[in-house]
Structures are given as structure tokens and as C-alpha cells.
Point group: C2
């Protein structure tokens, strides 16, 4: 039985995107600007330039240019591990007995183990071009830190990574991969920064959070000559770079005349989801096509589904600009039993605005259900998925099973952001029946939200 | 600067091999037969059928059929993770400043992390077809065990894995991956088998060896109703299945009119090397083309370069047939500081015969040099290589640097068998300067070889 659609659709190198797509250009109501926490006014390019590279500041603030050329050096680096395959999940479909057609865009075939490399190489490239010595960053599950280490090593930039303490401990081998690429890795909060010392004093036994680690990385960047800070998610520039995922996905689908009914992606800060859906959202915004777009988040860190849409601090130390987004409050720290990434208290401003406009849905799923879906997927599709990616798998399976009930032949596309090789402690807990679910109470979320900054907008 | 040859050459699904290639068919002098250790006579199909599946016994003994059809079910499974890319190492070439053109066939893009899945699915398929309940096997570094677990889980077969104790301890997460795929994993030597108990009594603190683990797995297969034993390397059937690597490589090269000067592969039992070189060796045997073919082995387990070509036991417990091969003696156990696989005391009989006929070369390399090459490769090619694969990287780099001296534009193809995500302890030792080299003394090898069985041939 030969299949009309191959198991894996690979674009030719010549079909790879030459421009990133900036979804903000097609939004009538734009995402809210970043604000200076001191003045309450929109951050200027000059102010942002203290923290970020100049070219990235331009990209961050550009709301009007729909297509931005990808520099040739970055396109060549992309060719090292891209195009990534769009996989038809024939085996999963058969196992589920669903009439739905399931596709996933697999971003895990590179050593960072995820899509994060798409933006890491772009940010490192612009830092190098500006003549900087190095960059600082934070990492949660370690995927972003690994990706940035790879990009910096390739370009000969120094790389300092603050890794959320609980992940540092749960994923000891991640540090070794980063070291292989020559990066320095510090568990956060640390005694190396003012903000780290302050947080440790206030919460001595803390497991850390992305919000803390961001504060530390920003402090080091601002205080070190020739350094800037880079971030793997949340920012507009990151969604821009990650649009390469969605553009490739769309090109692969169009090559075979496939029209998806829904696009599903996991959402932490929004880098994967934003990148995957951007061009589809663009068609939706321009009235050219309609798609259901579903963000999937952990029930233990449910910013879209239980957060509030408001200006908030991006980091725990409150050194970053204010951002209008769905947030659980900058002091929110997910329970330590939550494995993997998707731990950020907030969300991309662009995605927040799109969600607020009703252009996409969001769903939260429990950790044990996510790992059950991960194992089911691994057994038939032969890929061991990252816990983050498995949030999308869970909802894709749910939707495919609905199709089984109704008999509808829907086409489901989801983002498989990465592999779970460094998440075996979590898999072990799951196998041993020791994994638990944690859902924050309304009171807990309300308490965290009580500390939102007072800002109009 | 656009490249004429893409960074990654992917075949279309329609270009994937539909038949395996059996290099023995083109050999004038065939590999020596397996012998019954009791009678000293060639093993019959009936005798082998006690241990192996019937169809695999046929393949094991078939010295005349050059092409054997790949069943459609296996071809469909292959499509889940194949074709694998043939990668042009543009970035490595640039870094080395060599005029050589370097290509590698990358087999690591599946959860087993290596080429082992190519034979695992074939062996599991024939076991299932024969109506068996399950299979037993041994695993060293864990790649074969993971691959077999994946294949068995897909087909609904039970899978019992004996894992060399030192690897079991160095690679705790490998066990969890196998559990994800529903396999049972026992560190070897164990108290579960007669041979395991005997070995433990004689060598209480032993780190285990592939030879021990094979004995245990064979014992359990023979004693359990509805079970057979399967092996991930050494055997003719394994080389046959792995020929898919070489066939794809050759098809990809021919698609772009590339004529390689040398083919380099790491060699433990010979599964990867044999698979990679088979079709090239075939052309050589038929006088259609000439290639340099280089086997690379660890200096700590140098069967080709320092072993002897003789009949020997395949396993420590001496329960398996005798095989004529380059061997260090069935009691040889590599030093515990040796990381990763390539720990087998012997070698594929087919490769041994080809080497003995002078049709290929062999080289041994030291562990610390191998990790230095691995790190150099990772930093420019973005793939974290397995220690096994890095043996081939080391020699490919050496050859490319020779071209730099001579100015020759040679085309080098090597096999990148897998990824090193589960080898981070070894990378850590390397980074910390704690990795050492071990080269067995002549006396040590002579002592081990003193126990060769007395057999004519």
C-alpha cells in the first residue's frame, strides 16, 4: 500500500524560506508596547539598546514590515539542520482508529533537541555583527541554553547561561552538552548577581523560576562591557525568527494541496506556538483562510486559561520592561513536580493580543495525561517527545478521537517541538506511578496577581 | 553563495531501497561457516533454529542470493525514520581548511539514537511472523536494546534485554527509554541465568561484557517457550539488514554524480561498517569500482588490528556456535574506562574474511583523541555524536587534514551512526580532564588468545 502523501515531507533547500514573516504587520489592533517601568511610557529603541542588540531592537519594534529577509549566513546555518520534516502520523492514526489526518512538524532533529535553535542563531548572528563579545541568557528546561550555546560556539561568541535551579538539578546532562559547546552555566538564583542574592535571601529554598533567571541574566548583560541579553521566547523578535517553522509547514502542506482544519501548539512563552501559527494567522487576519488555532498549556502554569490580560513585569526581579500579556503574576512559580519547560508566568504580547481578540483558543492539560500521550506517541511514531511537545500531542490525540466519534476526516497539524532525551527523570517518575498533577488554587493565582504593577493600558 | 550539492541529501521515499544487498553473494571466497562447538561441523539450519527465527536462519546461511526483498511492512516502518540524510560537512571542511569533500551518512535521527533500528525491526518482524511471543537480546551501550524495544513495542512482542553492567550504570536513562517502550532490562551478569551465576561466582566484581550478556540472553531464549534470541551485530543477517545504509548512501551519491575515494566506518561487531560498505565492497568485488575502505576501532578493544584470525567462541559462556573471525579471545573484557560501545572481543565473519583478503584497512584510535574529534565535530556540525561514531569522525578528520597537506581534493564518506545524548558522563570525564586511554599489553592479549578453541579451518 503506497501512500499518496509521504511519511515525511521534506522541502528542497531551494524551497526554504528566505524571509521571516512578521504577523504584527497584518494585525489591525497591534500588540501593546513594552513600557518603561519608571516612566510608564513605551520603551524607546535607545532604552532597549542597553539590553538588546541594535538590529534585534529594530525587529522588536517593527509592527509594519510583513517580511524581513533572513541573512544568508543564517540561512546557511539553517541548512545544517533544516528544513525540518512535516511528518504524516500514519502509525498514530492507525493506532487511534481515527479518520482524522494528523501531521506534525518535527523540530527535534538537532542537538539542542528543539526549535530553539531557529532564534538562537539569529540572535547570536546579530550580536556578532554588532561586534559584541558575548551574550547572557536564562534557560528553563535547558533547550534554549543548549541552542544558544551551539549558536555562540559556531560564531565564536562567549555565552553565559543562568539555568533555573530545579531544571539544573533534574537535567544534569544538559550542562554537559552546553559545556561541549563551550558555555558557562550557573544555577539560578545564584550569588553571582545582586538580584539573585536578594531572591535567595527572601526565599532561601527556592527552586528558581524563569522570571528569576531572566533578572540575573539581564543584570550581568547590563553590567558587562560588550555583552547583551538574549531571550528564547516571549519577545516579538523570537516569534519572528520562529516563523520559519510555520512558513516551512505551510509550504509543505501547499506542496501536497493539504488544507489543515486546526493547528495545535504547546505554549510556554509562545516561541513555538507563535512561530508555527504565524503564517496561518496571517491568512486568517487577511481573510484568506480560516483555521482553528489551539494553544496548549500545563494546568500547573495556566497563563492563557486562568491568568489575566494586563501589564506585568517580565521577570521576578522587576528589572525588565513591563509587558501587556496574559499573566499569572511575576511572582508565580510553578510547583516543583512540574517537569520540563512551559514554566513562564506570562505569555508573548502578540499571542496575548491575538487570543484576546478571539482569534485563537487555549486549553490546559494535566501533567500525567501529557506523559500518557507522550508514551502512546513514542510507541507508534518512534520519537521520544519532550514533555513540552507532548502537551500538543495530548490535544491532537483528543481532537483525533473526537473525529473518530463524529466520523469527520479533519486535518490536524501540531508542532512537535523537541525530543525528551534529557527528561528521563520525569519519564521515570511517570513509569513508577510517582508523577502527580498540580493545579494551583484560585486563591494562589489571585494572591500572585495582587502584585501586578499599576499601569494604564 | 549557493552550494551545488545541498547540505543534506534526502532520497525520495520512492528512491528508498526495496531489497537488501547480500555482499557474500559477490565474494569468491566466502566467510567461514559457524561451527557446532560439540561436533566441530558447520551449524545446520535445524541447529540454528533453536536459537534464531527460521527466516533469519535462512538469511544467515544464504551466501548466493545478492538481493533479498525487504517486506513491505518493514519498508513502511523504515519510512518512519528513513531515508536518513547524507550530509555534506561544509562547516567541518571550512573549519579544517581542507580541500577534501566530506560527507556523512547520519543514522541518529530516531529515538534509538543509532542505525540499530534497521535490523531490530527486521528481526522483530520475522519473530512476529513466526508467531513467537517475544525475543531476548543483549545490549552494550544500550543503542541496540533501545532499538529492539522500539521495534517490539511497535509489533506487540515481548522484549527481554540483558545490558552490560558497566553501561547499565553509566547510562541510567537508557533503561527508562527501554521501559517507555515496554521492555524489561536486566544488568548482566545477573543471577537470573545459570551462566550469569557462574560468571559472577568466578569474577564477583566484573563489569560485564557483551560476551557475558549474549550467553545470558541465549540461555533465556532457549529455555523459554515461544522465545528466540536476536543479536544486533556480528551476524550475516545483521549486515544484510544494515545494507540499507550503504544502499541509500550509494543512491544519494549517484544522484549527484559523486564518486567517493574512501569510506570510513567505526567497527565493534561490524553492523554499521558492514552495512555502510556492503554495496561499495560489492562494486569492488565485481571489479566495477575501487574504494579505500577503512574500519576504525578503539585502541582499547582492537580486534582487527591486534587480534588473530581464528575460530573462537562468540560469547563468554561458550554457549554459542564458533565463528571464524578477528578476535581478542572470548574472555577479553575492555578496560572499564572505555566509554560507549565497540566493546566486542570479535568481529563479523564477513568483514573478517574481507579484511583478511586485503579488501579493506583497519585503524585503531585512542579514546581521548576520539572525544576531542567528537567535540570539534559537534561545534561546527551541530550534532552531538555518539562515542562510537566519533571513531569514524577522528579518522575522517585525519584523512581530511592529510588532503590539506597534499592539496588533494579527495571525497571522504563516513558513517555517523548515532547521537551521544546518553553518553554525557563520558563527555563530562573528557571535559574535566579525567578521561584516560587504555591500551592492552601484548601479554594481556596473548593470555586471552591462549584460550582459543582448537578447531581446524
Amino acid at each position: 500500500m503506497s501512500k499518496e502523501i509521504p511519511y515525511k515531507i521534506y522541502l528542497e533547500e531551494s524551497e526554504m524560506p528566505k524571509e521571516w514573516y512578521n504577523v504584527r504587520a497584518d494585525m489591525t489592533k497591534k500588540p501593546a508596547p513594552l513600557l518603561n517601568p519608571g516612566t510608564g511610557k513605551p520603551m524607546t529603541a535607545e532604552e532597549l539598546g542597553v539590553v538588546f542588540c541594535d538590529e534585534l531592537v529594530k525587529q522588536e519594534l517593527d509592527e509594519t514590515t510583513p517580511y524581513i529577509p533572513i541573512p544568508e549566513e543564517i540561512r546557511n546555518f539553517y541548512k545544517m539542520y533544516r528544513p525540518s520534516p512535516l511528518v504524516r502520523a500514519y502509525c498514530l492514526e492507525e493506532k487511534l482508529g481515527t479518520p482524522a489526518k494528523i501531521y506534525y512538524k518535527f523540530e527535534g532533529n538537532n542537538t539542542s533537541g528543539s526549535h530553539k535553535l531557529n532564534s538562537a542563531i539569529a540572535q547570536a548572528y546579530y550580536a556578532k555583527k554588532q561586534g559584541l563579545k558575548g551574550v547572557t541568557t536564562e534557560t528553563g528546561a535547558g533547550q534554549w541554553g543548549t541552542a544558544l550555546s551551539m549558536a555562540c560556539s559556531y560564531l565564536g561568541l562567549d555565552c553565559k547561561v543562568f539555568m533555573v535551579k530545579v531544571s539544573y538539578e533534574q537535567k544534569p546532562f544538559r550542562r554537559e552538552v552546553m559545556r561541549t559547546y563551550g558555555a558557562s552555566v550557573t544555577p539560578s538564583p545564584s550569588m553571582d548577581t545582586e538580584v539573585g542574592r536578594k531572591i535567595l535571601e527572601e526565599f532561601p529554598g527556592t527552586n528558581g523560576s524563569l522570571g528569576c533567571a531572566i533578572s540575573e541574566a539581564v543584570e550581568v548583560a547590563v553590567k558587562s562591557e560588550g555583552y547583551r541579553y538574549v531571550l528564547g521566547s516571549v519577545l516579538n523578535q523570537v516569534l519572528l525568527h520562529q516563523s520559519v517553522i510555520g512558513l516551512e509547514t505551510m509550504a509543505a502542506l501547499k506542496k501536497y494541496d493539504i488544507k489543515p482544519d486546526m493547528i495545535i501548539g504547546c505554549a510556554g512563552g509562545g516561541s513555538n506556538l507563535g512561530g508555527l501559527i504565524s503564517p496561518f494567522m496571517g491568512e486568517k487576519l487577511r481573510g484568506e483562510a480560516d483555521y482553528r488555532i489551539i494553544a496548549v498549556e500545563p494546568a500547573s502554569c495556566p497563563s492563557f486559561t486562568r491568568g489575566t490580560y494586563a501589564y506585568d513585569f517580565c521577570d521576578t526581579g522587576k528589572v525588565c520592561p513591563l509587558s501587556k500579556m496574559y499573566t499569572l503574576g511575576s511572582g508565580f512559580i510553578p510547583a516543583p513536580n512540574h517537569a520540563g519547560g512551559l514554566r513562564y508566568h506570562g505569555m508573548s504580547t502578540t499571542l496575548s493580543e491575538l487570543y484576546n481578540q478571539g482569534l485563537m483558543e487555549a486549553r490546559s492539560v494535566k501533567q500525567t495525561e501529557v506523559f500518557a500521550a507522550a508514551e502512546q506517541f513514542a510507541r507508534v511514531e518512534g520519537i521520544l517527545p519532550a514533555p513540552e511537545s507532548s502537551h500538543a500531542i495530548k490535544v491532537a490525540i483528543d481532537e483525533a478521537l473526537k473525529c473518530k466519534e463524529t466520523g469527520e476526516e479533519k486535518t490536524i497539524v501540531f508542532g512537535l517541538t523537541g525530543t525528551g532525551y534529557f527528561d528521563m527523570y520525569a519519564y521515570e517518575a511517570f513509569h513508577d506511578g510517582k508523577m502527580t498533577d498540580y493545579i494551583p488554587s484560585d486563591e494562589e493565582i489571585a494572591a500572585s496577581l495582587a502584585n501586578l504593577p499599576k499601569v494604564e493600558g
